[in-house]
């Protein structure tokens, strides 16, 4: 696993408009420019935020990536994907009405 390359790709997807547009059009094609392994590409394309974090990716990036590009940007779903307990979800879910 290459945490540095995944973070490089995700950072671009969080902050660069052109990268976001290219990813929306052809996610796998966009990721082809990075030296990512097949499993890493799959985690990004599938928005596997738990897998990304388990691989060492900074949670600020997984959250930013989700908020920018996930098909359903609902933060409750994001936390579910991370395995959050109901207790952890309650207050924040209310905050973001998600």
């Amino acid at each position: 696993m290459s945490r540095n390359v995944m973070e490089r790709a995700l950072w671009q997807l969080c902050v660069e408009r052109v990268a976001k547009e290219r990813f929306r059009q052809d996610a796998v094609g966009f990721l082809g420019r990075f030296a990512l392994e097949e499993a890493e590409v799959r985690m990004i394309v599938e928005f596997d935020v738990a897998g990304l974090q388990a691989a060492g990716v900074n949670p600020m990036l997984t959250m930013g990536f989700w908020q920018e590009l996930a098909p359903d940007r609902n933060m409750s779903l994001y936390k579910q994907r991370l395995g959050a307990t109901d207790e952890h979800s309650a207050g924040f879910s209310a905050a973001l009405k998600g």
Partner: protein, 291 residues
């Protein structure tokens, strides 16, 4: 010589702007009132300039360049992240003082990374727009504001000790500057908060109150004694921002603090603490709060 005449710790919580009505009314009113109190107290110090110590949230700097500490010496604008209620625009910097801090650091083993143009994020802009700008209105004059950013959000993190070293160098540099300069330093950061993790929304009030007591006691040594592992375990990745507190505390000679407000706000995902830092008189006894 110039002088650092005081300081503050205060939060920079973006969820306040995204979901302003989420917490109970009394709690959110207490937080907004705390910012107003900070603005009044800042104006009362009769400052001539402000240093705001913030941190990137993996927006400004990518994997290609991750500075441990950086100072904006030239044009400043922001915030880069758009939040409802925060205006984006130019910020008046104190370029002469910021440049002097860098030059002074060269002789002190502090080799600042310099941003000759700098777009800040919300960690600068929230204290600036909620505290510095209202203080400017009260004073009827501008308060040039210098951005200093420490690596709290993205590893490799700056160490707490190094953050304190920078605070001491900031103080020494100000003291070597023009005699009429009165600087206030703001350490911008939340206390406990988990950002982007499964625990997001949890607040660790025990940890928060421990940190606040260290601010009241001016106990820099104890503040710098936390390991990263303990901070992450007890208070979340967002609590790494206590580095900004260490920098501000170290910038004050013989520091002591007063808690202006504290609210544990799960709906805003953060323990929000407001502390005013001041210089204890030389023969004034140190009041120690239990931590």
């Amino acid at each position: 010589m110039g002088k650092i005449v005081g300081g503050f710790w205060m939060p920079h919580d973006p969820v306040m702007f995204v979901a302003p009505d989420a917490p109970p009314l009394a709690q959110r009113e207490a937080v907004w009132a705390a910012y107003e109190a900070c603005a009044e107290r800042l104006a009362a110090l009769q400052p001539t300039s402000v240093i705001i110590v913030g941190c990137d949230h993996y927006i400004l700097f990518g994997t290609h360049c991750l500075p441990r500490y950086v100072i904006g010496t030239g044009d400043v604008d922001g915030p880069i992240d758009r939040l409802p209620g925060l205006e984006r625009g130019a910020v008046r910097n104190h370029q002469a003082l910021a440049t002097h801090i860098v030059e002074h650091g060269d002789g002190q083993g502090v080799d600042w990374t310099v941003a000759r143009s700098f777009t800040v994020d919300h960690s600068f802009s929230i204290p600036h727009q909620l505290v510095v700008k209202p203080a400017e209105a009260l004073l009827g004059r501008e308060l040039p504001s210098i951005p200093v950013y420490l690596a709290c959000g993205v590893d490799p993190y700056i160490s707490l000790q190094r953050s304190a070293d920078l605070g001491r160098q900031l103080r020494a540099a100000v003291e070597a500057f023009d005699a009429d300069e009165r600087v206030v330093i703001i350490g911008s950061g939340g206390i406990s908060h988990w950002v982007g993790t499964a625990e997001m929304g949890r607040v660790a009030e025990d940890f928060d109150r421990e940190i606040l007591a260290l601010g009241v006691n001016g106990d820099l040594q104890a503040l710098c004694a936390y390991s990263d592992e303990e901070i992450l375990r007890r208070a979340g990745n967002g609590a790494m921002e206590i580095r900004n507190f260490a920098c501000a505390l170290a910038a004050i000679e013989r520091p002591q603090g007063e808690v202006i407000a504290y609210e544990a706000v799960p709906a805003w995902v953060t323990g929000l603490g407001f502390v005013q830092l001041s210089v204890r008189a030389e023969h004034e006894p140190c009041i120690t709060l239990p931590t």
